[in-house]
Amino acid sequence: MRGPDVSWYIVLSAFLFTTGALGVLLRRSPLTVLLSLEIMLNSANLALIGFSRHLGETDGQIFALAVMAVAASEVVVGLGLIVALHRSNAPLDVDKLISLRG
C-alpha cells in the first residue's frame, strides 16, 4: 500500500496555495480573505506532513500542529477586528479600509 509519493502531495499543495493566494488578492470582503488565508495555511500544512511522512520523522507534524495553533490565533484576532469594524460602521471592504483611526 504505497500510494502516491510525496511529489504529488507537494504539487497539490502548490495548487491549493495558488488558489488561496488568488482569493486573498482578488476578493474584497475581509471574511473571504480570512477564509482564503486558511486555505494557504492548510496547503503549507499538507506539504509539511507530506515531507514528514517521506522522511519518516515526526518533526514536520509538530510544525504542522504549531501552524494550526497560529492559524487559530490568527482567526480569533482577525474575526475580532472584523467585528470591531462592523460595530464602528466601517465598510467591510479591504479596498476602502485604507486608514487607521480615519
Binding site: 504529488w8 502548490a14 488561496g20 477564509l35 487559530a72
Partner: protein, 178 residues
C-alpha cells in the same frame, strides 16, 4: 490492489479539496464560502490519514472543521452575510496582476519540484505503526520541541486576550472611541 485503492482515495480527496477551495474563493456569500472551506478541511484530513498522520487528521477535524469554522459561521451570522460580488467590475489591472502573481507562484513550486528533486522524492521512508499517533506526537512535543510547545501556549493565550479586548464593550464608550 491496496495501491489502487489508495490512489482512488487520493484522487477523490484531491479533487474535493481543489474543488472546494475554488468554491471558497468564488462564492459571493461568505456563508457558503465558509461551508465550502469545511469540505476543503475534511478532504485534507483524508490526505493526512493517507500520510499516516492520524493524530493530525483528528486535530484537523476537531480544531479546524469544528471549532474554528463554528467561530467563523457565528461571526458571519452576527455581521450578516453581506454579499460581495466577486470579479464584478471586469478584469482590472489589479486582477490581472493577481492572476499573474499566483500563476508565477504555482510554476515556481512545480518547476522546483520537477527539476531539483527529480528522482529523489520517489521512495518514502518506512514507518511503523506508532508514526503519527498520539504517543509519538506527545513524546516528540514534550522532549525535542518543548520550547515550541510552550511558545504555542503563549501565542494562544495572547490571541485569547486580544480577542476579548477587541470584542469587549468598553471600546464602544465615547472616550475610548475618540
Amino acid at each position: 490492489m491496496g495501491d489502487l485503492l489508495v490512489w482512488v482515495i487520493w484522487v477523490v480527496a484531491a479533487m474535493g479539496s481543489l474543488g472546494s477551495a475554488v468554491a471558497v474563493i468564488s462564492f459571493s456569500n461568505p456563508f457558503y464560502s465558509a461551508l465550502a472551506l469545511i469540505g476543503n478541511l475534511a478532504s485534507l484530513a483524508v490526505m493526512y490519514l493517507l500520510l499516516s498522520a492520524e493524530f493530525l487528521a483528528a486535530a484537523q477535524v476537531l480544531v479546524y472543521a469544528g471549532a474554528v469554522m463554528v467561530m467563523f459561521l457565528f461571526v458571519i451570522a452576527y455581521i450578516g452575510s453581506q454579499a460581495d460580488e466577486p470579479f464584478s467590475d471586469g478584469p482590472g489591472w489589479q486582477s490581472i496582476a493577481a492572476v499573474v502573481a499566483a500563476g508565477a507562484l504555482l510554476v515556481d513550486v512545480v518547476v522546483a519540484i520537477g527539476l531539483k528533486a527529480g528522482g529523489r522524492l520517489s521512495d518514502g521512508a518506512d514507518v511503523d505503526g506508532f508514526f503519527g499517533g498520539p504517543y509519538e506526537i506527545g513524546r516528540v512535543f514534550l522532549t525535542d520541541h518543548l520550547l515550541a510547545f510552550e511558545i504555542t501556549s503563549i501565542v494562544l493565550l495572547t490571541a485569547a486576550v486580544g480577542g476579548v479586548i477587541l470584542g469587549s464593550e468598553a471600546r464602544r464608550t465615547p472616550e475610548a472611541r475618540r
